[in-house]
Amino acid sequence: MTDKALDLSVTIAGIRMKNPLMVASGTFGYGEAYASFIDNNILGAIVTKGISLEPSQGNLPPRIVETPSGMLNAIGLQNVGLECFIKEKMPYLRQFATPVIVNFYGTSIADYIKLAERLTGVDGIAGLEANISCPNIKEGGISFGTDPAMASRVTEGIRKATTLPLIVKLTPNVTDIGAIAKSVQDAGADALSLINTFTGMAVDVDTCKPVLANITGGLSGPAIRPLALRMVWETLKRVSIPVIGLGGIMNAQDALQFLIAGARAFEIGTALFVNPQAPYEILNGIESYLQKRNLSALSEVIGTLQQ
């Protein structure tokens, strides 16, 4: 052990974070749900539940099911809508010394543009995370994030609409994540976050019905971690903008794998459900790792993968 002050800070797209631990969209509400467990001030950044132009009811229940080392969710992006978010949720979020990154989604490029325009200039928003895993209703319902050309167009639209740091969150439900990442970078994204959930399914053998009312849902948790890590590593070979890694990170060891592979920061989601103390344990674990190796800054770990 050393008494050296450790520097865990990282800067992503101009957003300075005291450490690389971010809480993932959809797993932390609007910053209030874990208030009795976690001091929001210790977090690197808070990513809020995905918002849309209008409030959304989301899918019918059942919405979640546990799977081996993971869970499927089909929340259907239920959210309070843009204006309510700004009026009722931002005042709470603003009080912490932690950057707030607003996750948002649309079903047309015009939606994304309107959202980005309105969010720009709202006091207390440090950056945007565009969730492009959603279907493009105008163009046959294919997800924006599964086609390099469509991913590029939506990114370009958002880029022109905002001066805020822009993170684009990628879906893993693609053949070549590197190609999508490259086109999103070229369209002006400042950073990438990956991965969103893998589409999955579960069947109840007693009733012969899908367990989820929505039939399919997004798989998250430790089950997807090796896939997420591979995709982060693959993406980093194709882009030069910072990458935020996520998918199944439960502890410091998991987080370090992403950092060593080159992710500049990471998000945790499902881990919070299992262990609300995870942020503390992960940050402590990263500190001990640095101390053990006699390092003073996290930057000495990022991208140190030996191949």
């Binding site: 959809g26 797993t27 932390f28 509400g29 209030e32 749900a33 874990y34 208030a35 009795s36 467990f37 539940k49 009811q57 989301g58 019918l60 229940p61 059942p62 919405r63 979640i64 099911v65 546990e66 081996p68 080392s69 993971g70 869970m71 969710n73 929340i75 239920q78 948790g221 430790p222 089950a223 439960m250 499902t270 919070l272 459900f273 299992v274 262990n275 609300p276 103390q277």
Partner: protein, 267 residues
């Protein structure tokens, strides 16, 4: 802040198999015991590691001094693993979670209606209700078999409650579903809107009928619901139920709801 839940490391003090496949746990968790109210629940970690991954929601069936009690039925893998726990084991709990039953100041008659293991949160409520004087207390308990009487007997002092046992096996005075008997007994006992309150927990098909009877007799009714949960703290929106005016989260807006606030369109 919407709740005061934290993570507690509790010690399993005692374990009793009340009837085959149903266990009563007493856990030493002083802070949790102090803060909890009837109707609230905990999310319990089944074991370290990632499978089973999620915590299991369980109602508190009581508190006593520095301890909290759970009453649970073995359903699947998680509860199966819990059934093998031995006293002395250290257990991670999140709680207290959710809202609680409301006991109006003017209450004259409390009617508890439990279906099977749904008795768990009502036992906690019953223990609080025996502290109020001048209260008529009724406990309707529906189960498959007469053996299940053991779930409620012994947990609360008998004289404090009037019991109505209804079982499908015909071993009790009443045979069938508890909801077949409820309306008739409310009539016979002349229980009506004046100062009465129904509290119910059990399968959703039963709760739906209880809600209908309560509405017919104009008696306020609070029901405790179940839903599959991931976070238990209101963050994931995974546990919603259809309520008047939109979805409500069972974990954070419930688990106790006024029956009139819900849309009763499931099974």
């Amino acid at each position: 802040m919407i709740h005061n839940a934290t993570t507690h490391t509790a010690e399993l003090v005692s374990k009793r198999e009340v009837i085959p496949g149903t266990f009563h746990f007493v856990l030493h968790a002083p802070a949790l015991a102090r803060q909890s109210r009837p109707g609230q629940f905990v999310m319990i970690q089944v074991q370290d590691g990632t499978d089973p991954l999620l915590r299991r929601p369980l109602s508190l069936s009581g508190t006593c001094g520095d301890t909290v009690e759970l009453l649970f039925q073995v359903k699947g893998r998680g509860t199966q693993l819990m059934a093998a726990w031995e006293p002395g084991r250290s257990v991670s709990l999140i709680g207290p979670l959710g809202n609680s039953f409301i006991i109006p100041d003017v209450i004259k008659t409390a009617v508890l209606v439990a279906g099977g293991i749904g008795a768990a949160p009502l036992l906690y409520l019953a223990k609080i209700l025996v502290e109020s004087r001048d209260l008529q207390r009724e406990f309707f308990f529906g189960a498959k078999t007469g053996k299940e009487r053991a779930l409620v007997e012994g947990c609360i002092v008998n004289e404090d409650f009037e019991y109505v046992f209804v079982t499908e096996d015909g071993t009790q005075k009443f045979q069938g579903f508890v909801t077949d008997t409820l309306a008739g007994e409310l009539e016979r006992k002349k229980i009506n809107a004046k100062g009465a309150c129904i509290y119910s927990c059990g399968p959703s098909s039963m709760l739906k009928k209880v809600a209908r009877i309560a509405a017919a007799y104009n008696i306020p009714c609070q029901v405790s619901l179940e839903a599959h949960m991931a976070c238990g703290v209101g963050a994931c929106l995974g546990c919603v139920v259809e309520a008047r005016g939109g979805f409500k989260r069972v974990c954070a807006d419930g688990p106790v709801f006024d029956s009139r606030a819900l849309e009763w369109n499931y099974d």
